[in-house]
Symmetry: C2
Subunit: 496 residues, 2 copies
């Protein structure tokens, strides 16, 4: 997967070396918006279907990027959808033909961006495929549907271009950084793109125009299979599920060692969503390690090593379940259950209440970069990286799904609003996955990592072989993060 | 499924009313052993393949039941299997043709009991099917293989009888109660049986003879699909996975309320594996409730109600994952991973160490039947019952997979050796399942049940509608347990 190539008639294709592998990418920016109508050859109407996380962001960004051109952006929703009012408030309207019933919009669009929830895609895809007009291109922002089609033994619609553009951040981040991009050219969320079917030679440029229109500063090539595997795996891991599990078991550990609840929460959670995320974002995992003194580095190393060992089998299990279709089948089955049993919020427990109190008095306390917490977090993250690499994912994707989306998109939101808020407000597929896997990380870390650490003779790192940590300082992820770090947007996201 | 019928040429078929449904069963006992050779018409050699949990029990029980008859019982194992010595120690030997390489034994047997691990069945079934001699009957003690065949789009071997006999307890219990049955006729583990293919009219009697030969006091009809769904679901639920999760979250709750670790463990764990299990075994869920005073009954009711509500969606998720094949696929995929990452034991954490200390000083403390613990345990168990009934499982199976196997087989073992020991020493499918679902029960109970209870005004049960508990006192499970309680073996299991 990692040495795939592509050509564009409208945009410059550049190359980058990542850990010895060459990847191709296209640079974005507002100065390219004037070229979008040409790249969108044959597309006069873009239908954005759905108003969940990505829908509002993509519809508004594309409308703004294409303002004044021949291309109209319309939003399509279920008849009677409660999101109609939100779409109207964002300026889409039935009167000017930019808001309508989803199948009407699908039938009238040249590019259909299918951004409805995964379960709805699984249910409605036959009707959606049937409604595509001749020559229309189908666009996906996530490969979930491909996984479901594989489980069903079905195929993408014959005779249509099918492309993917997958922003490496949730919808609100895609919108927020695009807005910041009005002031600072290049601000936006990076995307990966995929060409699954190209029936008339237009697919690659349509996909690239879509990505650039969303504000993507750097757009990398992938496949939708590679995308959905890494994405669903990643959000069950260090992007979301593992973070929750890590915070739970660290909070318990610190309180059981005698820390006051507030202090335990600051060390277990605020440290991750605050200084650890910020340090990784600016200077990588090595930046975290290098910021510690000698004694702290020993604590970090031992925690890293044990957390890596405890999470590695669990990450392998998640990857296998995702790649085999079992996890996707489980998500599809959940659709019906959720009607009867909506997922209750998780934020009622003592720890999250302590977290709310802690956030309410921000500024009155220091958030130390706790070396034990940092070691656990980094150990799990690098184990996640290694498994994706072993499965052949391109480095750009690995870095995004294991590090960049975490530290530049999700953790800042969690810092502002709480991990529990994030868990309760992500996509249904992610919410199901976090509930499924967070407790597993919690148990694995407590049962295996912490018991291993606590049974060390004298607790010194030197007494233990530190097999996993021994690969840390020369790990290729550091070089990759330095390289792709230069491809970050020129501003940090500002969470409102 | 619940009104199926069958006929036997050799054993008396009796009926029982369970909650308004009629079920058929066959009574066992040592006085029937002399009829086994006739019922095993055409079977001169029984090959027991595998030496895991069921293999040693079934091979030894059948050999003893058929002693002096024409029928020989042979054990077949992988060449070089480390279990060869154990089989020899149990009196099977290459010299007299009762021990050999598994495919040699399969090729030479008229009844092949395939008792190798689920993952091995999934891997080897094509060769096993090919090796069956003409006219041979294939016997399974678990429907896992049928679930795997469905996932693969494959079928049972054409032209062969295929029957299932599924003891409602793990192998060591099947052996131990059979041994106790030497003194007290009728002691043994109940079985369900299934006839999946009957090509020559012998299948039903072969299955019944197998069950009676194992010592089954009462043998009920089911199908292997119904069996594996209820079995895999049940062990992930209240039989094993849920017990572990319940103990973890209750122990945390009690210690966080100020209980000393020992006392918290006694209330959270010893209460379940001791008095709660014993009381349910002798007088059902109502017996537990009736043994409490008024104030305790209120505590029970509130805990029951909230635990039922919190576990219901999770139980529905487990059932869906099992019935759809996703859970079975996940287990099969684990086979390869386990070579690289063996499952580490769970018993290293503080709580299980406390548990070991507590067990070591048995007799020096009282184990109270804690009403909160009892409410949580019974709420989860009855939610599990209701879901199986909603899916059409026969009451005999529901009672076994949700109550009887728990209180008469697994919980007594856990009481003797610890929950962690049990989790680390059950079948691979069960071990994988407990690791997967125990943490989910823990989180669901803490996040939903306990937060709901703690947010009650004044904490009195009256303040809350107790919707789930309102069905408890008139629940049909009580009548069913009374009826099948008369079909329990005449002695309690004595765990060595």
């Amino acid at each position: 997967m990692s040495e795939a190539v592509f050509n564009s008639r409208h945009f410059e294709v550049e190359t980058i070396e990542l850990a010895g592998k060459t990847e191709l990418f296209v640079r974005g920016g507002r100065h390219l918006f004037s070229q979008l109508p040409d790249a969108f050859e044959g597309v006069d109407r873009i239908g954005v279907i759905g108003w969940g996380s990505q829908g509002p962001a993509q519809a508004q960004n594309l409308r703004e990027s294409l303002e004044g051109s021949r291309i109209k952006v319309a939003v399509g929703l279920r008849a009677g959808s409660s999101s109609m009012d939100e779409a109207r408030a964002a300026g889409f309207s039935e009167e000017d033909g930019t808001l309508g019933e989803m199948f009407d919009v699908i039938r009238s669009s040249d590019l259909v961006l299918l951004l409805i929830a995964d379960a709805a895609q699984a249910e409605l895809y036959p009707q959606v495929f049937d409604a595509l007009k001749p020559g229309a291109t189908l666009g996906l922002s996530h490969g979930f549907l491909l996984g479901h089609l594989a489980n069903q033994g079905h195929s993408l619609p014959a005779g249509h271009n099918v492309v993917g553009v997958c922003p490496k951040g949730m919808g609100p981040s895609v919108r927020r950084l695009y807005e910041q991009g009005r002031e600072i050219n290049g601000a936006g969320i990076n995307c990966s793109f995929a060409v699954e079917q190209d029936v008339d030679g237009r697919a690659t440029d349509i996909a690239l125009a879509w990505a650039i229109g969303l504000g993507s500063p750097y757009t990398f090539l992938t496949t939708l299979v590679s995308e959905y595997r890494s994405d669903i795996y990643g959000e069950r891991g260090i992007l979301l599920g593992a973070v929750w599990g890590i915070v739970e078991c660290l909070y318990r550990r610190y309180t059981s060692e005698g820390a006051a609840p507030d202090d335990a929460f600051i060390r277990a959670c605020e440290a991750i969503t605050g200084p650890i995320a910020r340090t990784i974002s600016s200077s990588g995992f090595l930046g975290v390690y290098d910021s510690l003194n000698d004694a702290e580095q020993q604590v970090f190393a031992r925690a890293y090593d044990a957390a890596y060992a405890a999470s590695e089998p669990l990450l392998a299990e998640i990857y296998d379940d995702v790649a085999s279709g079992a996890e996707i089948l489980s998500v599809v089955l959940a659709g019906e259950r959720l009607v009867k049993f909506p997922m209750p919020p998780i934020e009622g427990t003592r720890m999250w209440k302590v977290g709310g109190d802690v956030r309410a008095r921000r500024g009155s306390y220091e958030v130390p970069l706790d070396p034990f917490t940092a070691g656990v977090f980094c150990g799990v993250a690098v184990a996640q990286v290694d498994l994706l690499i072993a499965h052949g994912h391109p480095w750009s994707e690995v870095a995004n799904e294991s590090v960049i989306e975490a530290v530049d998109s999700l953790l800042p939101y969690m810092h502002a609003r709480g991990v529990a808020y994030m868990v309760d407000n992500c996509s249904t597929t992610a919410r199901l996955g976090t509930r499924k896997w967070a407790p597993r990380f919690d148990y694995a870390l407590e049962q295996q990592a912490f018991t291993a650490i606590d049974s060390d003779d004298g607790g010194s790192a030197g007494a233990h072989a530190l097999q996993n940590f021994s690969a840390f300082e020369r790990h290729p992820i550091h070089e990759v993060l330095r390289a792709v770090g230069k491809m970050r947007p020129p501003v940090d996201i500002s969470v409102k």
